[in-house]
Amino acid sequence: MNSLYYQKKLSRNVGDKFFTSLSVFCALIAILPLIFVVTYILIKGGAQITPELFTLEPNPPGDDLDAGGINPALIGTLVITTIASIIAIPVGVGGGIYLAEYSKGGPFSKFIRFGVNVLAGVPSIIAGVFIYALIVSTKILFGSMYSGFAGGMALSILMLPTVIKTTDEGLKLVPNELRYASLGIGASMYTTILKITLPTAFRSIATGVVLGIARAAGETAPLIFTALFSYYYIVGFEDLFYEMGSLAVLIYNFALEPYDAQNKLAWAASFILVISILTVNIFSRIFAVFTEKTKRV
């Protein structure tokens, strides 16, 4: 008869210990890159942060004394992501509504879902090349070539699948009883979606949209083909139709410069980009928790 007490040397207990520690070890390794990357950027970039950074234009490479600031790139990233959001959010939410509420699971909606998944897997550079071929090289937008507008369109292609998917999934989580309740008292499909289903799913949709924006804001490759880069302040609406700087492309350009001042500027831009994406992610979590609480009074 075996003793009922725990025996360390039993082969199943040894194996159990081994695999537990192995999985903990792997989990630690998985988190290491994140910790290293973020701390390295925080240390290297954090040291370069000055108030002028946010207000000045970058100086042309060659002047090793003072690299200037990143104001145009910062504003450019904001402008380009805003354009991307303006295009991707209505189209994506609309598409998601179609998939979740109107489509009856026929071949057409299956095709769209498949297409969305494919689009989500398309390398971001392809989106850039596509917009390059469609808008930049054809000069279709009032004769302008590289422009902030084209950059926004390229990023909107990358945001679209995230927005469609989260809308679709968010709406599917809304219990059918709620739809029936609304339809059962004579609401039309459109009132039901607008007044009942969408507000109920708002939290998950908003979280998905915010994550999509955060992803788009950090993209480099599509912008190299579309918005290119600019050293100059963005002053007016017409600047949308000219080359526009962005944090990601600034990092790409200046990190490759042989001058120390430009490299430092790239570190500073990395710092700001990482911090803002982290902030957006954390903000979306807090937002999710906050709305969750208010909903269940």
Binding site: E177, L178, Y180, G184, G186, K195, R296
Partner: protein, 269 residues
């Protein structure tokens, strides 16, 4: 079709003529003839899978929302076949409201839960008054009056269900359909809802599906007993049919059919 002579002066408000309903190729219920009279509470009883809920949902076209569900025959409401191609299901549901098995208030305030339906139906009168009168009719006003701005979820299950009834009343339907409204509730809440139904009877026609035979006996004037039989080809599938329809008293005291007798005495179900 057995007609109760005493009630023949009442007006037929809704009638099913040779209605068969299928989900895809599976026939759920077939050849139903039924007349609902205005001002009555009619209960639909029967064992699981006999199609009583399916029939109820067919009465205000909620079955449209279930993929593959199709209906043959005519459902006459107010002289119109509601399955006519020209009929707008939204309009049908405005005049035939529905209360569901699970209490399903909207994630809004109690006040908004009532006001929502009225507003989309173009109600222009005094909304405060409508909210109060609807909640009163559904016998939930005393519990709600001090917290109209709280979420509908803050109420107990029974209160939520009465809120759902109030929400349906607020659109002033002619008929209220109830799909096992008490099956998720405790006995005290059930009793309150039954009292509510007796109140509502003065103004509305009510059709209720219930698994609880005592409830059918307590609340309804007429009872329709549905049963299910195996297909003749014998592949094990069952199809529902209307076995007997009569006044509740007759169904429970002297049913004509043997299966009704067996069902109400608890021999199967």
């Amino acid at each position: 079709m057995i007609k109760n002579t005493k009630k023949s002066q009442k007006k037929n408000i809704l009638s099913l003529e040779d209605v068969s309903i299928s989900y895809g190729t599976f026939e759920a219920v077939k050849n139903v003839f039924l007349n609902f009279e205005a001002g009555d509470i009619t209960s639909l009883i029967g064992p699981s899978g006999c199609g009583k809920s399916t029939v109820l949902r067919a009465l205000n076209r909620m079955n449209d929302l279930i993929p593959n569900c199709s209906l043959k025959g005519t459902v006459l409401f107010d002289g119109t076949n509601i399955y006519d191609k020209r009929v707008d299901p939204v309009e049908v549901r405005r005049r035939i409201g529905m209360v569901f098995q699970q209490p399903n208030p909207f994630p809004k305030s109690i006040y908004e839960n009532i006001a929502f339906g009225a507003r989309i139906n173009g109600f222009t009168g005094d909304m405060d008054e409508l909210v109060e009168s609807s909640l009163r009719k559904a016998a939930v006003w005393s519990e709600c009056k001090d917290k109209l701005n709280d979420s509908g979820y803050s109420l107990s299950g029974g209160q939520q269900q009465r809120l759902c009834i109030a929400r349906t009343i607020a659109i002033e339907p002619e008929i209220i359909l109830m799909d096992e409204p008490c099956s998720a509730l405790d006995p005290i809440s059930t009793l309150k809802i039954e009292e509510t139904m007796h109140e509502l009877k003065k103004n509305y026609t009510i059709i209720i599906v219930t698994h609880n035979m005592q409830q059918a006996l307590r609340v309804s004037d007429m009872t329709a007993f549905f049963n299910a039989v195996e297909y003749e080809d014998g592949d094990g599938g069952k199809v529902g049919y209307l076995a007997e329809f009569d006044s509740t008293k007759k169904i429970f005291n002297s049913p004509k059919e043997k299966t009704t007798q067996e069902y109400i005495s608890g021999k199967f179900g």
